[in-house]
Symmetry: C2
Subunit: 229 residues, 2 copies
Amino acid sequence: MEKAVVLSSGGVDSTTCLGLAVEKFGKENVTAISAFYGQKHDKELECARKVSEFYGVRHLEINLADIMKYSDCSLLSHSDKEIKHGSYEDQIKENGKVETYVPFRNGLILSAVSAIALSINPDDKTHIYIGVHADDAAGDAYADCRPDFMEYMSKAINIGSYENLVVEAPFVNVDKAGVVKEGLRLGVPYELTWSCYEGGEKACGKCGTCLDRLKAFELNNAVDPIPYE
Amino acid sequence: MEKAVVLSSGGVDSTTCLGLAVEKFGKENVTAISAFYGQKHDKELECARKVSEFYGVRHLEINLADIMKYSDCSLLSHSDKEIKHGSYEDQIKENGKVETYVPFRNGLILSAVSAIALSINPDDKTHIYIGVHADDAAGDAYADCRPDFMEYMSKAINIGSYENLVVEAPFVNVDKAGVVKEGLRLGVPYELTWSCYEGGEKACGKCGTCLDRLKAFELNNAVDPIPYE
């Protein structure tokens, strides 16, 4: 029996991936894995747990904070930098990259999840779902979301696992509005998800990821079910 | 100024890489990183520390044991399996892979080291040295040492780091005897290194890696300077 492991951050994209994986493989064959890497708040991990509960899938958590402790990325709890507001586009114009790029995060999380997938499903081909989407890589905002990064990383994971792992990035060429469209079809519980980079009670509605999320629902003539400040 | 980060396990191959990197970049620009991932013994980490001291380079240690805790690989301390003796060739004939394959270890370590390299050298191009060599991949013994794995993983790391990282695998097409030949030229302190999979006072001389090491020195008409049982 083929299995699936889904990188689950508690946000829109990965939760939609989880919905897809459950539809395709059945909840008993799906494991969700969430990574803590030193984020300023762990609200997204709480959301990831609730989403796994909603779907009735096995949920694992991994801690990569020790690896990221040398980084001064503004997303990390030990950084003094403030998270910048405004669009990714403006940040790229200013710095050549977005300040919320966590060094090689997707490569590290994919590798950790690959190691775990081979360990928990030693006898089954396993599909690893990751919710990167076209907007993440727009203007090279996140280098570790680019389609060519995903292509080479996927090949490395397939070869380095004796071909037992296959990476699935169903939204790598789909924009966030397209992700939400698919999620609305699947009935994804977006009310349980969290995207905001700030750790407030309600989403700030001002950071890059809030702006993207609000726009994606709007383009689907839908209302984002989470409360905003 | 370009920098180098060397994956240092305390063994022959990675210590030779460290010698190469110090020759090319100078000790002040080199960082050695050692990974603990749940190995049965930590003698190799002690050796890695001594080697860094010998070269006068910065030494960092990372702990990936939490990721590997789901694996039952015989190399890991929580596994009940005994480490098999005999050549890799015989093990492959028997099982299709070697029992000492730690799930996606090289991918995971390379990714972790990439994240750290971007963090500690944010303004410099950094070369990441890894000591995989041709014998590791012979007969597909270690899938995550195969030249095509290394090729795709290297491309993923380069792209996913905004092209700030370059992976160097100088021995990927060189056998272990060739590695030792280069190390003898460089004056690598092999007396400080450790390769044996067992945790004894002296190397066992019987496990796959001991047999390979002894043969590599013999082919160079040299004597391995470490004591054997």
